[in-house]
Amino acid sequence: MAQVEKISLNKTFLAGLWDENPVFRLLLGMCPTLAVTAAVKPALTMGCSVIFVLFCSNVVVCLMRKLLKPHLRILMFTLTISTFVTICDLFLKAFMPEMSEALGPYIPLIIVNCLIICRAEACASKNGLIVSIVDAFGMGLGFTITLCALAVVRELLATGKIFEVQIMWNSFVPWTAMSMPVGAFITLGLMLGAVNLVSKK
């Protein structure tokens, strides 16, 4: 029984990284994926914010799952998620004001990120605490890694740098379009195609 449960936890965690990757497989959270991946730092900050909100909301939803009324569950999920997004927003304003300014309206928009309410509905409201926590970390990490992967490509081609460190050769001519929405769509589309190719879909 313990072996079956352990495998299940591993499978739950790994699902968020590949089989059920929020961006490449579930196509959730497209708005921040396109908007904040012009550079790695805001992408990483957004990813960590989503992990925090996912973890807290999954824990709270899991703990109150047996008390939830079916017709009020979405309202309760939204209430829970918005509380932790507000806390996250206050944290960034207090301790990372430059990132708060860079991310602008996209932190409050985490409230309507379908990934978080989806995990609350699909996992946290139906499973125990450990599974919910593992699912939150798996999905959050998958989302963060995806955002960072996109951001690395875009920032490298748009500026030749990552985290202000020159990576590309000196004579490299930056592709300014990669920092614009057109670059976001093209990069995401190509990465989606690559993932489908690898998965042989």
């Binding site: 009020l72 309760m76 209430l79 829970t80 509380t83 806390i87 207090a94 301790f95 602008g104």
Partner: protein, 203 residues
């Protein structure tokens, strides 16, 4: 009647308790971190003002808040150089765009000319309205050295190089552009009037 009340309580007690608990959590978090957030805002204001009036070394608040309307007040700072000479005034101003826009405005020592503005708070549409944040654009350059005697007027087309009260709007961001112009028009006459009353400037 009692049956209805009991049914209502059974259905909604979790929602009410959760709302109360989450509200308390946010209130405590806000109380704990508000001093740090306010300190960051003050530091940002200082940095912006120093950039707008580079010759200023000291910024002293003028005694008494300046009344803008029934609800709005602002604090005006007099900027002085290292010889103690007045080089300008600076104050925070706010108004609606798509969302709230908060800027810091700097004027010269006679309050006759704009020295520029810096954005403190802006949640305008990324890629469109948030262009008001840029201080190296044709839009921003229109505000430098403009006389404060006349109200600013937003136009859709025109010459951006002319230093006149006609401000050419950012393409695709009329509401945000109008928001900034309205802030100037709302604050400048009242700030000027009260500076005259306090004897800080001459007519």
């Amino acid at each position: 009647m009692l049956k209805h009340i009991t049914h209502f309580v059974k259905q909604s007690w979790l929602l009410v308790v959760a709302s109360f608990a989450f509200g308390l959590l946010i209130a405590f978090t806000n109380a704990a971190w508000r001093p740090k957030i306010d300190a960051n805002a003050a530091a940002k204001f200082s940095t912006k003002v120093s950039g707008l009036l580079p010759s200023a070394k000291n910024f002293e608040p003028i005694t008494g808040k300046f009344q803008i309307d029934e609800k709005l007040t602002t604090e005006v700072y007099q900027a002085r150089n290292d010889m103690g000479q007045l080089v300008g005034f600076a104050f925070a101003a706010q108004g609606p765009g798509y969302d709230k826009i908060e800027i810091v405005i700097a004027v010269n020592e006679k309050c006759s000319k704009l020295m520029g503005y810096g954005v403190l708070v802006c949640n305008e549409t990324p890629g469109f309205g948030d262009a008001i944040k840029s201080d190296v654009s044709e839009w921003y350059e229109q505000f430098i050295d403009v006389v404060t005697a006349q109200p600013l007027k937003l136009v859709k087309t025109g010459d951006v190089d002319d230093k006149d009260p006609e401000i050419v709007a950012i393409t695709g961001a009329t509401i945000s552009s109008q928001g900034v112009v309205d802030i100037f028009n709302n604050y400048m006459p009242k700030i000027k009037e009260q500076l005259l009353q306090k004897g800080m400037i001459q007519e």
